[in-house]
Symmetry: C2
């Protein structure tokens, strides 16, 4: 009989905050760069063509003596009947004997670790004193991107939100943004709720009809859509802009004009995945990736092995394809906190 | 909050028997042949080189409105400290909305569905009235192969067991074989325990020092070892012999001399997997697989779409690589029985 700890979405919510999630995600990137972690091939499959898909991401963290996987499914039509579109589970196994250690609801965990990824890109690559953020996409994930970026990049004072399909979606999204952001704790352990509330209150939130004008002002752009064609064009952007590209995670996805890659400083979470399923894939096909702009794994930047932005006019790009090590590093933290706080349920299988 | 049913190994044992497992496995093969099921790419990784590995198999059963995966790990050194070497979990999801339905301990399930696979090969391909079985390999899995074959092929009256490394392992294995077989129920619902006990008692079990002599007599051979080189040679076998090859499930594994494939009638569970990770892989490399002996999926044989053995001197081979659909079909049966009998535990994630 094998004891396994189960953590519900509520358990996860009671443990994770922006600070500890970002720390876990940065740690995952660093362990990968130090080759103290491995990714296994990822699986991405249509379940019902055009209606539902799923992916399985798996890997191993040597340093934590664990390995595991996350299966996440997307059923877009769920939302029409009041169910979440994204559901899934993380399974964590012990690298000492192969026994399962924990099973964790992947919904909030995925949203938090993905928000952290976008923010980590802005934090390490945007110009210092960046104060304007443009978020492209106003779905479920956008609020997590904004939350993590406001926390990690304290200079941001203005957030534009652009929905490429409908202006009123951006308006609606921002109408409740402050209360939505307050629901995502910045720091559950040391800092006060009031601090986070003040931080959010100090930010201006503006819906965007035409991204062209806003791009003259934006220091950092986060793209977080399911798009399969470019939404932002080279001619629209000004020197010095940073892009965190979150949406592209399978073949055929694209958010940026490939010309933006020409001469840019490009980082990614996983070099191989970036070339095939990430934002970089289209630039590769267009022949615009060369020795000088080929993606470097961001763990090396966090470690200080390489320089990111060289001058304030550089275009920087972080292509976040999403890797199992983010999930595993966060899960490891969840399991150790849950053991400490006696959260979740332990079952014998 | 998503309700998920958890089934422990004891729950699985209380539901599965040879008859219902074989029915599920045959159904999985048939659904694959009818294209009412799909396999996703499988992942096979070394965790600790030479010490531990794991694989993730996943797929979808349209007909049952479910999809899912099985992660199984192998830590050989566990046995030295009294822990099982093979551990793992099956996760089943609802194809209507992506919600997790069940999580099942994979240990007994894997043993049972793998035993069923070997027996299905013998049942559909060996000569009628086969009465001598040779099992090559005397590990954990061998007893499940014998159990399923004795149940599915009632003409078998003599079982030889051969351990390619040590004769005394085969002797030891057979010393308790009757009681081990009795622990695996043939039919928990309709037939009597006495019937199964009599069946087992009527069989002669003989350890083998030299397989050469036994092969003159064997009608069917099941190979179930982790071997990476041939254990049975073409010169040793007689016309008409059937082989169910269970061991080969990853690149580099091999149990049969490739020359045995020359002129043989070859079936498999998955044509693509067979060519790359199954017993067929070495014959492919040796250039011995042609149009007339290329593997046909066994579902077509069970359905009656194709003929298996054409004459009593044919050499027949079933290359069982192990597919997720076996696990999913068995899991679906487990879940529906567990709901009916209120077995396992339901947790909200």
């Amino acid at each position: 009989m094998i004891p396994i700890r189960f953590l519900s979405d509520d358990d996860v919510k009671s443990i994770l905050d922006i600070r500890n999630t970002v720390a876990c995600v940065e740690r995952a990137y660093v362990l990968k760069a130090k080759q103290r972690a491995r990714l296994f091939p990822s699986i991405s499959e249509d379940l019902i063509h055009g209606i539902a898909d799923m992916d399985i991401k798996s890997g191993l963290l040597d340093e934590d003596d664990l390995y595991g996987l996350k299966l996440v499914s997307w059923f877009g039509s769920n939302e029409r009947i009041g169910l979440p579109a994204l559901t899934g589970l993380v399974m964590v196994f012990d690298l000492k004997n192969g026994f399962p250690k924990a099973i964790i609801n992947a919904r909030y965990l995925t949203a938090m670790r993905t928000g952290a990824a976008g923010a980590v890109g802005v934090k390490h690559l945007a110009n210092p004193d960046s104060d304007v953020l443009l978020v492209v996409g106003t779905g479920f994930q956008a609020v997590f991107q904004i939350a993590a970026t406001l926390s990690e990049v304290p200079t941001i004072r203005k957030v534009y939100a652009f929905n490429p399909l409908r202006y009123d979606s951006a308006e609606k999204f921002l109408s409740s943004i402050r209360s939505e952001l307050e629901k995502i704790p910045e720091d559950q352990y040391t800092s006060s709720k009031e601090h986070w509330k003040h931080r959010i209150a100090a930010v201006q939130f503006i819906p965007v009809e035409n991204p062209l004008k806003v791009l003259e002002e934006a220091d950092a752009v986060i793209t977080v859509t399911p798009s399969r064609k470019p939404l932002i064009f080279k001619e629209w952007i000004r020197p010095g802009t940073h892009f965190s590209c979150i949406g592209a995670d399978m073949p055929g996805k694209q958010e940026l004009d490939v010309k933006i890659f020409d001469g840019a400083v490009v980082f990614t979470d996983d070099a191989q995945q970036s070339l095939t399923v990430g934002e970089v894939q289209c630039a590769v096909k267009a022949g615009l990736i060369h020795e000088e702009n080929k993606p470097t794994e961001i763990g090396h930047l966090i470690l200080g092995d390489v320089k990111g932005r060289k001058k304030d006019t550089d275009i920087t790009i972080f292509d976040s394809t999403g890797i199992a090590l983010q999930d595993l590093a966060v899960s490891r933290f969840l399991v150790s906190k849950a053991e400490e706080l006696n959260l979740g349920r332990v079952i014998h299988l």
